[in-house]
Amino acid sequence: MGKQIFNNIKLGIFILASLAFLILLFYMIGKNRNFFGSNFTLKSRFENVQGLKIGNNVRYAGIDIGSVNKIEVLNDTVLEVEIIIENKMKKIIRNNSIVSIGTDGLVGNKVVNITSTKLNAPLVKEDDILSSRRPIDTDDLLRTFSKTNNDIYLIAKNLKKTTFDFNQSNILWKLLNDNSIVENIHLSLSNLHSASIEINNIVKNANSIMDHIKSGNGSIGTILYDTAFTLSIKNTLNNVNNISNSAIKLSDEAKETIKNINYELMKGDGAFNKLLKDSITGVTITSSIKNIENGTRAFNLNMEALKHSFLFRGYFKKSSKKN
């Protein structure tokens, strides 16, 4: 009897151990599928769910926060995915978050990713419909891979040809084997180094000059940064402006005067008008000039006679000696 009780105890432990593992298994699966604890649902709509299944995980910033509960076909182009999410995420997910379908690794299960945007928005509520992003189509991906592969093939082909040409070229090999080129390159680099040092010094000097100018020293510094000089230039320019105005005024006055003279010459009663326009006056003047010429000739004769006069001979001799 005692042995039977002992056997029954062992049997009980054996069954309980099995039950414990079964319960643990169910609990862990249930926990992963959010069957325990408080949850809320969110929805999102897609054109193509890319093989997403009920029970696939939902991730927010890479953390599993829920699972897919239902996938419903609304019409020929829209599928609604209902997801269950842990209640604590209600305080974190905003209703402008984006839902997308991804893959867990390269060959893993499909997952629903919720990505937050940086824009501020109210927190999600039960049964909110979040906007979705078109999932990456594996066919598109493979097509791109295929194109890239072709490009790589062409590049490799060209590279192969280039390498072949390179190997065939004696000049290139001669160039590569010529040690003097290396020395020249070394020398050039050394010169380049010296030049760069020189350039550096020049730049330093230029900086120093610029600093000098910026501090207001020297002619350029004075021109650029001395406010008193600027004021003086301003005044000078004002004066130049005034002079210019005066010159314009003077020019206008001269113009007016010339206009008046012209008018007087053409139309007035003055001596000039008569001189130019009156024919009688012209004749008179011509006659007067002739008289003057005659008078001058007579005067010259008189003067010549005077030179030979004994009274004035001495004076003329003295004046010619002085000259």
Binding site: L11, F14, S18, L22, M28, I29, R33
Partner: protein, 277 residues
């Protein structure tokens, strides 16, 4: 002379074919008879199961013998199975660059299929033969007849308790075998790699779903019932003395093993139809 020989040869060949077809027909008939008899035996079990008195003490005793005493063998095979499966899969997983998925794949394989089926086959080998031999020897030594004479219902006492114990204990053994196999797999992963214990179990549980566990768990009840009922049937109808006992034990193991595979095939089809796959 030659004509007589050829006629004799022809007659002999016809006799051989006839005998062969006769044998085939006898085999077919005996197969159907066996199936019918087994079905009748199962029906008798179901009808007796609900009628009191219930042999609770005998049930517990059989549970202890069938379940608890099978644990070391089932546990050892389960442990080796998990370990070997992991070690065999590991190089290929590394080749494909999915070594991290090893716990998940081994977990699904063990929980869904390998655990229940291998445990059931080991169980059939151990329990099917033991029930067949035990009841067979009781039959040939007329102990069963003696029980009937003494007023004890031998069917209820011997068959119902054993079939019930086998039906109830195989799922328990399968669950423990799964756990031990997964532990073996954990050790297998850690022989050449380095995985944290918690991380291994999280990966296993993450990959599992109810649709993986429930059909596998439910089908073990049917496997247990098949092993129990076939073992009891073969033993209960044993004949031809001690030779018959060995034959009963052997055929109990063979038939119950085949039945396990047939039921497994049916289970896959049913879970497929129900959308669990």
């Amino acid at each position: 002379m030659l004509g007589q020989e050829s006629a004799l040869r022809k007659r002999n060949s016809i006799t051989k074919i006839h005998r062969k077809s006769m044998n085939n027909s006898i085999l077919l008939k005996s197969f159907f008879a066996e199936v019918g008899s087994l079905s009748k035996f199962s029906g008798k079990f179901l009808s007796r199961f609900f009628i009191p008195p219930y042999e609770i003490n005998e049930l517990f005793k059989q549970c202890y013998v069938i379940g608890y005493k099978s644990l070391p063998l089932v546990g050892l095979t389960g442990f080796i199975m998990g370990l070997v499966l992991t070690m065999q899969l590991r190089p290929f997983m590394i080749d494909y660059g999915v070594e991290s998925q090893l716990p998940a794949i081994v977990g699904i394989a063990i929980i869904r299929e390998i655990g229940p089926v291998i445990t059931s086959l080991i169980f059939a080998g151990k329990i099917g033969s033991s029930i067949g031999a035990e009841l067979g020897s009781m039959k040939v030594t007329e102990q069963i007849d003696a029980m009937e004479v003494s007023g004890t219902n031998p069917f209820k006492y011997l068959v119902v308790s054993r079939v019930m114990a086998a039906t109830l204990m195989l799922p328990v053994l399968a669950i423990l075998s799964d756990a031990i196999s997964l532990y073996g797999s954990y050790l297998g992963v850690n022989i050449k790699g380095d995985t944290n214990f918690n991380f291994f179990w999280i990966q296993v549980f993450d990959s599992l779903e109810f649709r993986d566990v429930l059909p596998a768990f439910i089908k073990t009840y049917f496997f247990g019932f098949a092993v129990g009922i076939i073992g009891c049937y073969k033993g209960y109808y044993s004949s031809k003395g001690t030779e018959g006992v060995g034959k009963s034990a052997n055929s109990a193991v063979v038939v119950s093993s085949i039945m396990i595979f047939i039921l497994d095939l049916l289970a896959v089809q049913i879970t497929e139809l129900l959308g669990f796959n």
